[in-house]
Assembly symmetry: C2
Homo-oligomer: 150 residues x 2
Amino acid sequence: MAKTDKPNWNGCPVRYAAGIFGDKWCFILLRDTLLRGKRSYSEFLDAGEGISTNILASRLVRLEEAGMLIRKIDPRKGSRVCYFPTQKARALLPAFLGMVVWAIEFDEETEAPDGFAAGFLENPTGTVARISAQIDQINRDILGDAADAL
Amino acid sequence: MAKTDKPNWNGCPVRYAAGIFGDKWCFILLRDTLLRGKRSYSEFLDAGEGISTNILASRLVRLEEAGMLIRKIDPRKGSRVCYFPTQKARALLPAFLGMVVWAIEFDEETEAPDGFAAGFLENPTGTVARISAQIDQINRDILGDAADAL
DNA sequence: TTTTTTTACTTGCAATACGCAAGTTGAAAC
DNA sequence: GTTTCAACTTGCGTATTGCAAGTAAAAAAA
């Protein structure tokens, strides 16, 4: 087996991924949209991670430009802006949950729900489907039928 | 189903993960050790990503402190320092490869080997085992039997 | 209808982190 | 013994971040 010289992956997938969420705050925001049901600026701010307002704004723009979030006015209240995860973002769920499982294994202080790791490992697609359904539900609560167009 | 209020994951696995590789350069270094067989400072430098020497040094320290890399003098040449991925780092492979699959799907300009994504999706554990064996081989080339102690 | 509040940002500035170029150290090769 | 190689370190200008305060538009209250 060749030693190090596999094809020179530029246009490298890892670099591509790093460009999008190889950043602490983007990472956290993806968590908030995918796993915590957060959608609006103020919800992200209040997530308790201490992100500052200018950085939050810049990361929302970055993630929107990367095709990970879609910005929409809340139809129930025009002063409220919501950011919905795109299919591209949702397609990250399997890998993302894989990371969660990894972190649960190695973080001594994890407070993740007990049994989550086992549940995911036993039935990954089912777990992804369950979380995906939660995302749909949250979107539907805000957008109604228009959520289908996301 | 409750809306957003799952248990307040602090000691949150995603935050834990973000702390370790929620950084462009750490991300790239993990790729280099896990997927490209690179082990030494100069190999990382020459990976063509344009990392500067001070940042490289700081990230190697950070990853070592995070328990992702082990620093060892090359027994074949005392002026050469090698950084080996720990079990903790290697345990990231499934999630990491999941990200690769995701990136292949969404990066129009990907140059990843065709069929890699399909191969991983069809047989993830086999793919992980194959790559893991490559890592073992590289480590063994450098350390000989001492590689077992990693 | 005016005022206050809510929500989503922007702006300015000090502090930190990064990128680049050059310098240092120790082991190896010659 | 001198040169080379490999792994860092240091200094400095630039870019990014974090913090505090300010602005704008819509909604709710008075």
